[in-house]
């Protein structure tokens, strides 16, 4: 779920800040410390994101959150033109990307400091963190140094 902070009539619209639900609390706690974690089934070792209560590989119910490298590649992307939320009106067109982490799980996320013409499938990326509020930090990604080589 998403909560949008209350605004006065003259405030600029605020981007939605994810509500931290219990299942994803460890993810946001780690993000606050600028660490990227995913869930790992302690029965079969499957990594997953976002959180599930039971493992869809083995139906085990014991899990831990483990740090991942934060490296991956762009698996796919779109470029949003239509404004679905007023806080994104000044951002369009902007890319949303699916990052496939080196460890396997995929995340829908967005890029920092990346012009649209450099967004391409297969580009190497690494995690970067954007602090949204005192409680919520959002893991985003940047093109990694390697992909900047000519």
């Amino acid at each position: 779920m998403t909560t949008t902070p209350k605004q006065g009539a003259h405030d600029t619209p605020t981007k939605p800040i994810p509500k931290i639900e219990a299942a994803m609390a460890p993810f946001f706690a780690a993000a606050k410390k600028h660490r990227l974690v995913v869930q790992r089934c302690t029965d079969c070792g499957t990594l997953r994101f976002p959180a599930r209560e039971l493992c869809s590989t083995c139906l085990g119910s014991t899990t831990e959150w483990i740090a991942v490298s934060g490296r991956g590649e762009i698996f796919s992307y779109n470029v949003m033109h239509q404004v679905y939320h007023p806080a994104f009106a000044d951002d369009v067109p902007y890319a949303v990307v699916i990052v496939k982490l080196a460890e396997g799980p995929m995340m829908t996320t967005s890029l920092l400091d990346c012009p649209l013409e450099r967004v391409r499938i297969g580009a190497a990326v690494e995690v970067a963190f954007e602090d949204l509020s005192t409680d919520v930090t959002l893991p985003k990604f940047r093109l990694s140094g390697a992909s900047e080589q000519p």
Partner: protein, 394 residues
């Protein structure tokens, strides 16, 4: 004979009812549903008292629709119903309702079932509460947690990711997506009920149309619509005694592949056809007309591949070569489909399949229409249903 093939030709669609669709505001979702059933009964030459089954696929305007089929029964004034359920597998629901109706009738639970979809996602100008509604499909935006924080909203954005991946993997191009839009608009110009029947488009028009979310222009996206459709299923024997020529159910199947479609790029059609085609006793090459669920241009491409109408990854050239156009080897979405006529979830392809199978399609009628396929697709290529229909009993 396998046990499943005993169903072939035993059940039929006997009635089709469709309300006005699109920017139509004069009824609620319930009003559209009741009116669609009324029209289907008229079409079939049946009385309300002949119905003993009611299945409902509730569109978004129904909300959570707890006991939706019962509420619809009450609104219709139906007594002594022997089969009732509210079903939702997204755009695969309409096909699934017809399948469940066929199974229930064949098993003796009931005799005559109305399968109903309605929705009213579009708001009339006076109903809109803020500028962002614009009467468009605000209910399809689904703002969710992390996705929304990154600026990803709704089904358009999710399908765009899969389409982009298909383009990367198979070399599908923007022109290929455009070819689907242009071809379906060609068909729509021959369907007076299509919302864009009077607005033919060229590939240049397609490229010039505004982006919604790349790689989708507005012309890649279905026409979110208000309205309702009902289909009446009964036994073949009973259907032969009714007003309209029966449309026989030759085969049916479902496919819900699970896993991550973004990686496989393969819809449930691949699995559903493996049940439906042998039941109908057909191969892909036997299909005369295909009505394929087309929430996006891209969905048509993936579905063509997964039914085996062309090899995987070659749907773009297949459409570009005109195979799916009027006069082509495999006419597809002959009423204009959800892209150019109206988006009634899975009922759009089924309704046009019934019209084609009956030979009632007027200028757009496909001359040979002995085997008509209708597909349904829900989620992100996640759920799928296949119906094989024919004017011939076997």
């Amino acid at each position: 004979m396998s046990s499943t093939s005993r169903l072939k030709g035993r059940l039929a669609i006997a009635g089709l009812g469709a309300t006005p669709q699109g920017k139509v505001y004069d009824r609620s979702h319930m009003g559209f549903a009741v009116d669609a059933v009324r029209l289907a009964l008229l079409d079939a030459g049946l009385e309300r008292s002949d119905l003993d089954g009611i299945l409902l696929n509730p569109g978004l305007a129904w909300g959570t629709a707890a006991m939706g089929s019962f509420m619809l029964q009450q609104a219709l004034g139906l007594r002594d119903v022997r089969l009732s359920a509210t079903m939702n597998a997204g755009g695969a629901s309409a096909g699934a309702m017809i399948q469940h109706a066929a199974l229930a009738i064949n098993a003796g639970l009931c005799t005559t079932v109305a399968c109903v979809f309605s929705d009213r996602p579009l708001k009339a100008p006076e109903e809109r509460t803020n500028v962002h509604e614009k009467g468009s499909a605000s209910s399809y935006v689904f703002p969710r947690g992390l996705d929304a924080a990154h600026g990803q909203f709704g089904m358009n954005a999710m399908y765009a990711m899969v389409a982009r991946r298909h383009m990367h993997t198979y070399g599908t191009t923007q022109d290929h997506l455009g070819a689907v839009a242009v071809t379906q608009r060609q068909w729509a110009t021959m369907n007076p009920a299509a919302q864009f029947h009077d607005r033919p488009i060229t590939l240049a028009d397609y490229h010039a149309s505004r982006w919604v979310v790349e790689p989708f222009h507005i012309l890649d996206c279905c026409l979110i619509s208000n309205g309702g459709v009902a289909v009446i299923v009964t036994s073949a024997e009973r259907a032969r005694a009714l007003r309209k020529p029966p449309v026989y159910l030759w085969g049916m199947g479902q496919g819900h592949p699970g896993g991550d479609i973004r990686e496989t790029l393969t819809s449930g059609a691949a699995l559903a056809k493996a049940t439906a085609f042998p039941m109908a006793g057909i191969e892909p090459g036997d299909v005369d007309v295909a009505e394929l669920y087309d929430c996006y241009t891209f969905t048509v491409l993936a579905t063509l591949e997964d039914y085996g109408f062309c090899p995987k990854g070659e749907s773009g050239p297949f459409v570009n070569e005109g195979h799916t156009a009027p006069g082509g080897s495999l006419p597809v979405n002959t009423g204009g489909g959800q892209l150019s006529s109206s988006y009634m979830w899975g009922m759009t392809p089924i309704a046009e399949a019934v019209v084609q199978a009956r030979g009632e399609a007027g200028p757009r009628q496909v001359p040979k229409h002995d085997v008509v396929l209708a597909s349904g697709n829900g989620g992100l290529l996640s759920t799928h249903t296949t119906l094989i229909l024919s004017p011939l009993p076997s």
